[in-house]
């Protein structure tokens, strides 16, 4: 971290600061989305931006996710750097042709002639009692597609630096924010200018016995499990890839070479998901150093149910991770 004054910001405040700074720096940056202006989004993440930048640059759109995402693709090709707000990650499904068939392919299909410097910000994560169409974590879908970059910040510091990098990137970037972190998670953020490069994982906690690879809000879950593991004499290292693509394979592999054990935890579905990919990277890269199979913990493979006791069963927990880690370390 740069040597500078630090403030305690919420995750949402860090997002807002990143956007405001980039909009001050570059007049081509604009925001498009549902209720992003005066309402500041239903999550109040963007409050205050329209007051500073006006409705020419912070635009409330109709409820037309495909429509304004497609518009952003064309705007990005022709000189702007739009930041699209997709309120719930579930609504990404409505933008898929624009993101997958258009944004992701245009640079390649045109032989490198056109560029699509846009950012799509959206959310992931269950446990808001919002049921099956407002709770999914679909970041694996986008990570599957060549041409897209996928960013999944876990702290206020990370989200500010990574969002600024995303806005300056010349490619379509999808950034996932866990909506439960927006106002609940606080952290130190420097007052001065900084960015965080893509493809650089961050070791959130140093340990020696097991590596817990965690994404987004699962980083806090992993840190909680690591604290519990201390009580049973296990030292856990927590590694956050921060960007799913580009992916810092080296840091993951080096950590597991050191600890010989790994569990990957991510709030998306495990089946064909992010945990599968990361576990595969580790298995291939650190196979001869592993003392056991790479564990995976993700959302239960069910649509997210509404009823609170049922919903809570579907989300990975500190306790589940603690138990899995203890088992893998053969300490009971």
């Amino acid at each position: 971290m740069p040597d500078t004054e630090y403030r305690e910001l919420t995750y949402a405040q860090a997002v807002r600061e990143a956007l405001a700074e980039e909009m001050r720096r570059d007049s081509r940056v604009c925001i498009l989305g549902e209720d992003v202006a005066e309402a500041g989004t239903p999550f109040k993440v963007l409050s205050g931006l329209v007051e500073e930048f006006g409705t020419d640059r912070v635009l409330d759109t109709p409820i037309s996710e495909a429509g304004f995402t497609g518009l952003a693709v064309g705007a990005a090709m022709t000189g702007l750097r739009p930041v699209v707000d997709i309120m719930f990650g579930d609504f990404l499904t409505l933008t898929m042709d624009q993101m997958v068939n258009q944004a992701a392919k245009i640079h390649y299909m045109s032989g490198g002639k056109w560029r699509v410097p846009m950012v799509l910000r959206t959310t992931l994560g269950a446990s808001r009692r919002s049921a099956a169409q407002h709770s999914q974590s679909l970041h694996a879908w986008l990570s599957h597609v060549p041409g897209l970059k996928v960013v999944i910040p876990s702290t206020p510091y990370d989200v500010k630096g990574l969002l600024k990098t995303a806005i300056r990137d010349d490619n379509p970037v999808v950034l996932f924010e866990d909506k439960m972190m927006h106002h609940k998670l606080k952290g130190a953020v420097p007052a001065g200018e900084y960015t965080i490069p893509f493809g650089v994982a961050d070791v959130k906690r140093v340990g020696t016995d097991i590596t817990l690879v965690a994404t987004s809000s699962m980083v806090q879950v992993a840190l909680g499990a690591a604290a519990m593991l201390v009580e049973v004499g296990i030292s856990a290292e927590v590694v956050d890839p921060r960007t799913l693509w580009p992916l810092d394979e080296k840091t993951l592999i080096e950590s597991v070479k050191k600890t010989s054990r790994a569990i990957v935890i991510d709030e998306g579905y495990g089946r064909y998901g992010v945990t599968a990919e990361l576990a595969s990277v580790i298995s291939e890269g650190a196979f001869y150093h592993l003392d056991g199979p790479v564990g995976r913990i993700g959302a239960m493979h069910v649509p997210i149910p509404f009823s609170p006791p049922l919903e809570d069963l579907t989300v990975p927990t500190e306790k589940a991770l603690f138990e899995a880690a203890r088992k893998l370390c053969r300490k009971s």
């Binding site: 604009c30 020419d56 635009l59 759109t61 109709p62 037309s64 495909a66 429509g67 304004f68 995402t69 497609g70 518009l71 952003a72 693709v73 064309g74 705007a75 990005a76 090709m77 022709t78 000189g79 702007l80 739009p82 042709d97 624009q98 068939n101 258009q102 245009i106 640079h107 390649y108 299909m109 045109s110 032989g111 490198g112 002639k113 056109w114 560029r115 410097p117 060549p146 041409g147 970059k149 010349d170 490619n171």
Partner: protein
Amino acid sequence: MSIVSERAATTFSKDLWMHAYRQMVRIRMFEEQVNELYTRALMPGLAHLYSGEEAIAVGICEALQKDDYITSTHRGHGHCLAKGATPDLMFAELLGKEAGYCRGKGGSMHIADPATGNLGANAIVGGSMGIATGAAFSAKYLKNGRVAVCFFGEGALGQGLFYEELNLAQLWKLPVIYVCENNLYNEYTHYSETTAGDICTRATAFDVMAEEVDGQDVQAVYETARRLIERARAGDGPSFLLCNTYRYTGHHVGDINREYYRTKLEEQEWKTVRDPIRLHGERLVSEELADALALDALEAEVRAEMKAAVEFAIAASYPAAEEVENHVYA
């Protein structure tokens, strides 16, 4: 526009109408070469020919500036040529050669060219409506005076994205013209079987100005387009232009036996009585802007141009293997 002033414009614009004729002939002869390349198995993939619809691309692009934007479709060769693409680089792209517009990585359905404002042909039906609307958005945002034209076929009327973009464009008064080329057939199905209600009222429902024009009459297309483009440039917002036309050949080159969805008599009638090149050529002669000899000479020139362009493309190299991972990211 009054009849008198239209006549004046016509007389004034000999160069324009001769250029329009040449452009239509270039598209027709380009597509003849594509058909030849495809049937000789020199061209991989699919070939969707624009023959019969030339007056639309030409009429509209003649009314655009070079830095105005277009988006195109899987049936896009005509739009690309009309906007200023050169046939040698297009043929090279069609054959997957490195010299092509997209280094051979786009092919027939994805030709793009920033130098002529071509945002790219799109192989998702209706897929470029957002892109065109977004180009218009940035033109307004950056105040650069450009307009965007979104070409699409009547088959795209079934896509929901169209209605989302009409709504956005009208709300924000964006300088975009949605050009619907109704060639009567969604692939192998007559549009009347897929399209409920009236076409133009789809646009007017959003208060988007809509006009209908004979898509076989290049002068009518041009005059209408010019008005809509001027209107867009003046900040008066989007418009919708329905162009009635006909696809001379099958959905793609391999679609040969077509009698289960349309008759040979119907095809013959369009190809003779309503051929846009013939109609425009006859007008040039009758208005004494050209004589038959001049038109013949023009055709010979274009034929030679296309022949040379094909030879260039055939002789060009395929991309090296390293190219496969190039341009995934900027």
